[in-house]
Symmetry: C2
Subunit: 638 residues, 2 copies
């Protein structure tokens, strides 16, 4: 490994570099890489369950739990560990994420001492495999409208969990079909005839022998596009009774007298506070998507570096795929975006670690964390979907063979744009966060609620910088005017353009939403009319946040050649993003046609200039060859 | 079915409507739909082999062969039948396509009487399962550079087929791993020490018992992303001897004296003439991709019509997905494009039927057919990849379940952008055809060769209309000037803009390529510098061809309400395409910023206006419910 590669890798690795380096040497590929032979779904599920038990014997699961709860309290390390597993079998990442992250996270964050004492030891060592039973057949994105009920029965001091309709069946629940013994069930809590909104109740679903508990009907979602090692299933409850104390009662409790109490008066606010504590799942998915994308890019770039096709005119030697401009245009902007997203992910993980690990939770920062987690999750998973697809195609027929891993990378990550929050819904959440001041809107965070707030007020502080605030401001202040001689690689100009696009989209959408405030306006019609505008504003915001993370990472890099290289990669990320939106920039007079053509030419030049370094850039991802091991890595003798 | 649906369906069905209607009633879904339970790869392959035998007992396979060769000579019907099977199990479509279309097509088109008599009866009834052994591990797109040799041995009057290097191994060969008994092997034909270029030789690869023939090593490509019912394998030949008469000798023969003769002097021209006869494979893949996309759209639109999520403000009723603007923006332009591509496919099939079925082959028309087949194949398969992905995401978690078919539709069609010609390579072929007059360039059709021709000359007649020539010209002539009051739904304005974009891209790329003619120019560098420009020009051409087919189909529709509906769908296709390229149009002063905003608004309005008719529009695809049968079609009781 060259000095440059090492320096780049160090910058990419970020704050939890030690953990990543440890994994690079200790991780056993034979144990954790995807299966290399055909397995039935049952065999695959059994394999992944065994992998989970192996991991349970290590110290890793403790990271995600506070010291006071028997963990080691390294939240950032916990999420980073999931990211590392994202280079391995993604079924394992998801299965482990469901058990420790979602189920364990629910008990840890929504429960209290009694639950921590009773369950966390056997959750940490995975002897109590758990499920996170939130989504229902009829409600996925709109969790507040779940149909499952948890009704307190004063006479027996029990909670009765029930599935009133087929649509209220819990669906797609990881761990339900085969291994889960207990489920954290989200349900409408009804006490004394009053619905207090969605709460979480622990419900045993299988006995020690593995048989379903009385009243629990368990279905199997069967085969899926990918993640075949995860046993997704369906749960239907027929008046299943659990002790009152099975309610995870941190944010809402029923006392011995059968009286409901909560530290948070407002029901919607309570609901979103509960959900907010579970933000790590979303961050982990973003991390796993990023890892899978880097694996795919490493394979496709390496292949393009040795695969040759068609002789150049006047020569006998065949041309490498990587030397074709169209191929460069496919691979290199995606590679640059993966760099950008890694830096954004690092900042996000560190932010989460500091906020959620603090003695006292800063509510405003927690809201900001949730918004950023949603935005980066969308960016990272949609980038994975597009980029892994592109890598498959860039490897031709070889990319279609299972032995070369791209098919599984594609199929396994495909659902990442859906679970832990549908990407389109999440973007609306991001936009809403930007359009409303957190405090005022906190009582009503449903997606459509944003109309009312957009109508009533327009938060002044639209653009709050996330990383390297001072540096970014200095760069923008020093930026040339539009279309100056300085050229499109001026960082201040790029930052200014990103920020300007975000601000304009937000300002104009706020103006449109304000119409909804007029008497008699059809709120839904007003919102719907500009829904695509809302989503676009959120995307522009995420683009800007990601670029700022890149700028901050370059600023933090101490190695001059690495800084120089990162700067060019950042140019490619920034300019290919601007090029993708050039229609908008031209339409709004943000760039001239001449500047637009300059940007296109600069993207082409950057692709050509970076192509000879593409292998270095993927090597810096630091994925050990033993984790890659496919036929794509080496040329076949001709 | 309403009158409108029927009228739309009749227009969509086109010239082979009878065949499609027959299939709708006769096709047995239990037999031909994808498997509904988990199968091992071996079981799946056995199932598909059995399906092929079932089809062999019908009259369908005869369609693809001329009457003189024992077929029924319905070429268009043959390709249409593959399109229908594209609604069923795509493994079956590909397996059947390899055997009858590619293997049978090679024997029919490249062989002569002796091969027709000896093999076609057992090819038609599938008792001689065959392979099409063209692609090698080292050469896929560049078929002219294949490494396999077929060397004539005068002493024994035999041809020796040999794999000289690992890279020359035949790879991804459908039918090789399990069922194939004979392969049409493409190899460099060497006679008396002279290489006459790639020819096709029939080589038995398995004996009656299924054991590999002496000297033939058969490998298995194993699991793939999709198409698990197709037994793709690898063939390595160790000096395998076959009789001289196994050479498919229509375009190149070795006589009894061991002398090579060919009716086509120029080796490259001979090669492309041979390949050109096999164009039906490419057209069939386009058809199958279209069918799979229509299945996916039918599922996603139906789901969006009953799936509800989030209550509208001020109401209790939850909103249908189809009523959300962002969801409309995902589904409806894709639906409009599927309409457009169906009309383009219909025109292509009819064109092929008339050209290839004629007594005397019109060489110029044959070249045009190859170019159009390449362009429509690219458009149809890239649309399939993007749209099926979008449909999966639009159905959320349910879209990820195998039972709902979207995963298989995605995985099975994924390789369509690669096989039968990599899409990027095909686009360059299309561009080359446009940049050079066919006759002059015919001797040198390799991709990079286009540089030389672009440099030397620039064909005058760039824009040759393909469908409804007179009508299109009248519409353009009547078109308002740029940005007039007539609005973006004026068809003449749309046609003019499409045509103008194509012409400008072609003219400017020709100017850039001309630089290569200067003394000392690095031909590859010049070509590579504008490779993305070349590809873009080809895309613009295909867009225009597709729009013209749409316009012609509307013109041919006799039902007034259907015409009206088709006209709005055509607007959406045209305007969403213009919107996708608005950056280019603005950069080149083709539209003003105000017009660009009008286009965006018009796309949104069309989406909203067509959403209530979306179910009618997919119903008109005429896919029987029994062919769809998934959980997505009906709401779950809530």
């Amino acid at each position: 490994m060259t000095d440059l590669t090492t320096a780049l890798r160090t910058t990419l690795d970020g704050r939890w570099a030690d953990l990543k380096n440890e994994a690079r040497t200790e991780f056993d590929p034979a144990m954790y890489m995807p299966p290399t032979k055909e397995l039935t779904m049952d065999e695959y599920r059994a394999r992944v369950a065994e992998q989970v038990r192996e991991i349970a014997a290590t110290d890793h699961p403790r990271r995600g739990f506070p010291v006071a709860q028997g963990g080691s309290g390294d939240l950032g390390g916990s999420v980073t560990a999931f990211e590392v597993v994202g280079h391995a079998d993604l079924s394992l990442m998801v299965k482990a994420g469901v058990h420790w992250g979602l189920f364990g996270g629910a008990v840890s964050n929504l429960g209290t001492q009694r639950h921590h004492t009773a369950y966390l030891p056997s959750i940490i060592d995975a002897t109590l495999p758990g499920c996170f039973a939130m989504t229902e057949t009829g409600h996925g994105s709109d969790v507040q409208s779940l149909g499952t009920t948890a009704t307190y029965d004063k006479d027996t001091d029990e909670i009765v969990v029930h599935t009133p309709t087929p649509a209220a069946r819990k669906d797609y629940i990881g761990g339900a079909a085969r291994d889960g013994r207990m489920a954290a069930v989200f349900a409408q809590l009804v006490v004394d005839g009053e619905n207090h909104g969605v709460h979480c109740v622990l419900v045993p679903i299988r006995d020690e022998s593995g048989a379903p508990m009385p009243g629990v009907t368990i279905g199997d979602c069967g085969a899926k596009a990918g993640l075949l090692g995860v046993d997704n299933g369906r749960l239907t409850f027929d008046e299943v009774r659990v002790p009152r104390t099975n309610l995870l009662n941190r944010y809402g409790d029923i006392d011995e007298n059968g009286v409901y109490t909560s530290p948070i008066e407002n029901q919607t606010r309570r609901f979103f506070t509960m959900l907010g504590t579970l933000v790590r799942g979303r961050i982990s998915v973003a991390g796993g998507a990023g890892a899978a994308t880097r694996t795919a890019l490493t394979l496709a770039v390496t292949y393009a570096g040795h695969r040759r096709q068609f002789a150049a005119p006047g020569g006998d030697e065949e041309v490498r795929l990587l030397d074709y401009r169209v191929h460069q245009r496919k691979l290199l902007p995606a590679l640059a975006t993966s760099y950008a997203l890694q830096f954004a992910q690092n900042d996000l993980v560190a932010f989460m670690h500091d906020i959620q690990g603090a003695e006292q939770l800063d509510e405003e920062k927690q809201r900001e964390l949730e918004s950023r987690a949603a935005g980066i999750k969308v960016a990272s998973t949609s980038h994975a979907t597009a980029t892994i697809q592109m890598c498959r195609e860039a490897c031709g027929g070889a990319g279609y063979l299972a032995v070369n891993r791209l098919p599984a990378l594609k199929a396994d990550t495909d659902v990442f744009t859906t679970f832990e929050g549908d990407n389109t819904v999440l973007l609306q959440l991001v936009a809403k966060g930007l359009l409303t001041s957190y405090r005022d809107s906190f009582g009503d965070l449903d997606t459509l609620g944003m109309v009312k707030f957009g109508a009533r007020q327009f938060a002044g502080q639209l653009v709050e910088r996330t990383a390297a605030r001072g540096l970014v401001q200095r760069l923008i202040d020093a930026a040339p005017g539009r279309d100056s001689d300085k050229g499109p690689t001026d960082r201040g100009w790029q930052l200014d353009l990103f920020e300007d696009r975000e601000r304009h989209l937000l300002e104009t959408v706020a103006l449109r939403l304000r119409k909804a405030g007029k008497p008699g306006a059809d709120l839904f019609a007003v919102f719907n009319e500009c829904q695509d505008h809302v989503v676009e504003a959120a995307r522009a915001h995420v683009d800007r946040v990601v670029l700022e993370s890149f700028v901050a990472a370059i600023d933090g890099c101490q190695d001059a050649p690495a800084r120089e290289m990162l700067s060019r990669v950042c140019d490619l990320y920034a300019l290919s993003t601007i090029e993708a939106h050039k229609g908008w920039h031209l339409e709004h007079g943000r760039i001239t046609p001449a500047r637009s053509k300059q940007v296109r030419a600069a993207v082409g030049d950057l692709c050509a200039a970076l192509a000879p370094h593409a292998q270095t850039l993927v090597d810096a991802f630091g994925i050990p060859t033993s984790w890659l091991g496919t036929e794509l890595l080496e040329p076949v003798a001709g």
